[in-house]
């Protein structure tokens, strides 16, 4: 297995780059927004407020114009002084408007412009006061002349001045609007750039992660294959060892114990043997026989020789009654299809899976009945062991027994299925394809 460097460092580095980019971009955006705000409050808002006040001033100047027109048209039976209250109201509003306008006038306004406006206004009021004074003294004609010659001209000049200021405000507002548009365009471009950079970063990170994951998965697959190979070697080794020990036990110890038994029998039949001796010899003979039985049983357990001798089916038919006797669990055996001789390796693994499945029934199922079914299909041999117990838990694949069954299935290219049957009990199904039956030794 080759070793790979952990991706954490690279990912952290990427994250740092991303965060730095976000921070830098946020800083840039905030700076742009502040600039916009300055532009807006400094020029646009100020201009707008100033323009509104200039409009108010212009409106008052127009009212003054209309008032002077009324003063001159002679339709009222009153002296010109009658308009004193009306002009006072306009003057109050006008002076308030001018004071407010001076406070918010745009930064570009020159002091000459300001002075001109205030001086002209003062001169206008002075002239108006003279008009009222003349009227008060009964000099209506002179008062009217003064309105015509001086006041109306001043009012028009003032009105023109205010109009020019309004135009100036409009122009600087348009300039500011153009600058604002530029800022917006710059910010928009940078947003696109930022988004593109982020996309590239995300793409690179994703490619890196996909590549790394693929390597990890390959590694895991190799590890799994090796583990499986090891397990299968272990099982083969175990089977070979068991077969060897079984043969030794059966052939050597079996022969010896059989010989000892025959000798004891012969000795017991000897005429010189006393009854006591004969009795002892018989007991020893029985012990030898019991030992022989146990050796045979052990030998069979380690490696069912019957498999070699009478094949899988025969071994099965011998084993199941023994199992029933030993465990008290009733086994219902059924066979379908036409039986055929199986490869030795297949036979041993089928036999071991069967044993393991039955042992599991004894240990876990709480069942009193087990069913063993063997189906000879044209393309496969299927062994099914099913009980009517409590079934598999959520994770049936755990435990050494089941791992061993899985590996054995793998050794014969078979498929092991562990599931709960219709009755709710556990069902183990091993399917061994025909092609495999000649391959595995």
């Amino acid at each position: 297995m080759s070793t790979y460097r952990s991706p954490t460092f690279r990912l952290l580095a990427g994250l740092s780059v991303t965060l730095t980019a976000v921070a830098l971009y946020s800083g840039y955006t905030i700076a742009q927004l502040r600039g916009l705000e300055r532009l807006q409050t400094g020029i646009v808002d100020r201009n707008r407020a100033d323009s509104l006040l200039l409009l108010r001033i212009q409106n008052d100047l127009n009212s003054l114009g209309l008032t002077m027109r009324d003063m001159l048209d002679g339709s009222e039976p009153y002296r010109i002084t009658a308009w004193r209250g009306q002009t006072r109201r306009i003057r109050t509003d006008l002076e308030d408007g001018l004071a407010r306008e001076a406070a918010v006038s745009p930064l570009g306004r020159t002091s000459e412009q300001r002075t001109y406006l205030t001086d002209s206004m003062r001169q206008f009021w002075d002239a108006l006061d003279r008009v009222f004074a003349l009227s008060q003294n009964g000099q209506e004609a002179e008062a009217c002349n003064l309105i015509r010659l001086s006041l109306q001209a001043r009012q028009q000049a003032l009105s023109t001045t205010v109009s020019r200021l309004l135009v100036q405000n409009n122009e600087s507002e348009q300039q500011a609007a153009a600058r604002i548009r530029q800022v917006y365009a710059g910010v928009t471009n940078n947003v696109y750039l930022f988004l593109a950079a982020m996309l590239v970063l995300i793409l690179l990170t994703s490619v890196y992660l996909v590549h790394y994951n693929r390597r990890i998965f390959d590694e895991v697959a190799v590890l799994s294959a090796r583990r499986s190979e090891l397990a299968q070697q272990l099982i083969s080794l175990q089977e070979n060892s068991f077969a060897s020990i079984s043969r030794d036990l059966h052939d050597d110890f079996g022969q010896i114990l059989t010989a000892v038994g025959a000798m004891l029998q012969r000795a017991g039949r000897h005429p010189s043997a006393s009854d006591t001796l004969r009795t002892d010899l018989r007991e020893v003979q029985e012990i030898v026989q019991a030992t022989l039985d146990k050796v045979r049983m052990l030998s069979h357990a380690l490696h069912p020789v019957v498999l070699d001798e009478i094949g899988f089916e025969g071994a099965l038919e011998q084993y199941l009654p023994v199992f029933e006797r030993q465990t008290g669990i009733e086994v219902r055996y059924r066979k379908t299809g036409e039986a055929r001789e199986l490869d030795h390796a297949v036979s041993i693994h089928l036999y071991r899976v069967l044993q393991e499945a039955l042992n599991n029934i004894v240990r876990h199922s709480h069942a009193r009945v087990a069913e063993v079914r063997i189906h000879y299909l044209p393309e496969a041999v299927v062994l099914e062991v099913e009980d009517q117990g409590i079934g598999f838990s959520n994770d049936p694949a755990s435990g050494m027994g089941l791992v061993s069954m899985r590996e054995r299935a793998s050794l014969v290219s078979g498929r092991l299925e562990l599931e709960n049957g219709a009755s709710g009990g556990a069902r183990v199904r091993l399917t061994v394809p025909v092609a495999a039956q000649d391959v595995h030794a």
Binding site: S63, L66, T67, D70, S75, E76, P77, Y78, R79, T81, A82, W83, R84, G85, Q86, R89, D93
Partner: protein
């Protein structure tokens, strides 16, 4: 009784049942014998004055204790022959009236607009100022049932204008009633302006098409003549386009101030500076413009203590889509428009209001508000779908919690039937203690609505006669105290639109049978106080005790 009025009366009966309301209105125009139709003189020239009249008045011209009715009328334009005059109806004291116009000397042809009633010569008989397009007329009541035209003699002659509402008040507190006349715009048939909605046919112009005209203030010299103090007093304002005027004491200094409603121009609030001059404080007091800073089309106006706070609020009717204004005065001397919060604004949004008056219709001690409506343009529905030419009047019942509910449709008598209404006056013509309503309509009939209490509410009615003060006691303030609180009501001429209501004050006592205290502040500055005044009608002569009437 004409067939029309008979049908209208019959149709009104099923509507007169007003479950839930403590009072009921019934249309008694026909049964009272009032047969009047306003003649605006309209013949197709679409002259501006045609759209605005006429006014009406409740007053007791023969001083028999029963309110009579005056209905102002226009007349045909020169070259047209349909003549008409104002109408004076004498109260027969049995629910009916008799037309006494000719006998009273009032069958005078003039293009009348509004009316203000006041005893300017303090002889005990109410005199008549009829405003007009052209020359206004002052009619002196000779006390023997006749009116004499004293316009020239009084010094009011030679003044031609488009006059609208007028108001008598004693601004210099010399005991003689002075006269304020509102003028609308500078208009004459000779200088009529052509306006058109479709570019072809002439339509009525809006006031923007004309120059404004100042209101006039005439000081009563006390010898039957008047002095024009318009300029001297500071009332002069050539931009005003005035339609309504109300008397109030804005700064509560005991000197009468004026609120003038202007059409498309800022309203004026003339504060009396106690030296014969006035100062316009409308902008400062926030009644010149609407809350959003526009000069609305102010028509009618009334001022009264509608929330029983002791401070007079103001109602102004405006154009459709402008809503009525209901101003409450704050501690800082500025008004705020509470119309929306009070429920009056939304209800009046599509109404073009004219006459309006605060009065206690159900005698529960809280002033209700009646406003009559009607558009100036017959073709308005083609232009604005939600606004009609004839419109329902509003009858806003004061809930006592700062809100009003329009109950016109429940009041009975067909009161809510749409009308092209203009003038509105109230007065207890049948002396049952409840104020009744008088309406005029443009180019249509007048309507007299009798008000009847259903829940047993009682009232205290107070007729004041000044001795040191002007004889009508105009400007006097009376306060009535009950365990429920205090009510203050002012004797006033003018208010509403082109119209004059009775001068007798009505205090609603609800189910109570007496007021614990009654305080009268006379225009002269004198104050009188009475305790434990039972419900009923009283007469009080300045400086003397109360007498039952």
């Amino acid at each position: 009784m004409t067939r029309r009025t008979l049908l209208a009366g019959a149709a009104a009966w099923p509507l007169s049942a007003a479950p839930g309301l403590p009072f009921q209105l019934s249309d008694v125009t026909a049964s009272a014998g009032i047969q009047f139709r306003h003649n605006s003189g309209a013949y197709g020239a679409k002259y501006l004055p045609e759209t605005l009249g006429p006014g009406c008045a409740f007053f007791d011209y023969d001083c028999d204790g029963w309110l009579d009715i005056l209905l102002v009328n226009g007349t045909s334009w020169p070259g047209h022959t349909d003549r008409s005059t104002m109408r004076l109806y004498r109260n027969n004291r049995n629910g009916t009236f008799t037309d006494v116009t000719a006998g009273a000397g009032l069958a005078v042809e003039m293009y009348g607009m509004g009316v203000a009633i006041g005893d300017y010569n303090n002889d005990g008989f109410p005199d008549l100022l009829v405003t007009a397009v052209g020359q206004n007329r002052l009619f002196r009541n000779n006390g023997r049932g006749r009116f004499l035209d004293v316009t020239e003699k009084a010094g009011l002659g030679g003044r031609s204008a488009f006059s609208t509402s007028a108001l008598w008040f004693d601004f210099d507190r010399d005991g003689f009633l002075d006269l304020l006349v509102c003028n609308y715009v500078k208009w004459s048939a000779a200088h009529d302006v052509f306006c058109s909605v479709d570019g072809k046919r002439k339509s009525y112009c809006t006031p923007e098409a004309y120059h404004g005209e100042t209101c006039w203030l005439f000081r009563n010299r006390g010898d039957g003549t008047f002095e024009d103090v318009t300029a001297k007093s500071g009332i002069f304002d050539s931009t005003s386009k005035s339609l309504g005027v109300a008397l109030l004491d804005y700064d509560r200094d005991g000197w009468p101030d004026l609120l003038i409603a202007n059409d498309t121009q800022p309203n004026k609030l003339y504060r009396n500076l106690r030296n014969g001059t006035f100062e316009d404080v409308a902008v400062r007091a926030a009644v010149a413009f609407s809350e959003d800073g526009r000069a609305r089309a102010g028509m009618g106006v009334d001022a009264a203590d509608f929330d029983n706070s002791g401070i007079e609020g103001i109602a102004v009717t405006n154009f459709d889509n402008e809503m009525m204004a209901l101003y409450r005065l704050g501690r800082d001397g500025t008004y705020s428009d509470a119309a929306t919060a009070a429920g009056i604004g939304p209800a009046s949004r599509s109404s073009l209001g004219f006459g309006c008056a605060f009065l206690d219709l159900d005698l529960d001690g809280r002033l209700d508000l009646v406003a009559v409506n009607g558009h100036i343009d017959e073709t308005v529905r083609h232009i604005r779908g939600n606004v009609g030419y004839a419109q329902s009047p509003h009858l806003f019942l004061n809930a006592g919690n700062g809100t009003f509910r329009d109950v016109a449709a429940e009041a009975g008598g067909g009161f809510a039937t749409p009308k092209v209404a203009r003038g509105l006056a109230f007065g207890d013509y049948d002396r049952d203690g409840s104020p009744d309503l008088l309406l005029t309509t443009n180019q249509g009939p007048a309507f007299l609505y009798r008000n009847r209490q259903l829940s047993g509410n009682r009232g205290l009615r107070l007729h004041l006669t000044g001795t040191k003060s002007n004889r009508d006691a105009i400007g006097a303030l009376a306060r009535v105290f009950t365990p429920d609180g205090a009510q203050s009501r002012r004797v006033k001429s003018g208010s509403s639109y082109l119209s004059q209501s009775e001068l007798t004050l009505t205090f609603g006592l609800g189910k109570r049978d007496s007021a614990s205290r009654l305080v009268i502040e006379w225009p002269s500055g004198a104050t009188q106080e009475f305790s434990h005044v039972k419900a009923g009608a009283y007469h009080c002569i300045e400086g003397r005790a109360l007498t039952a009437e």
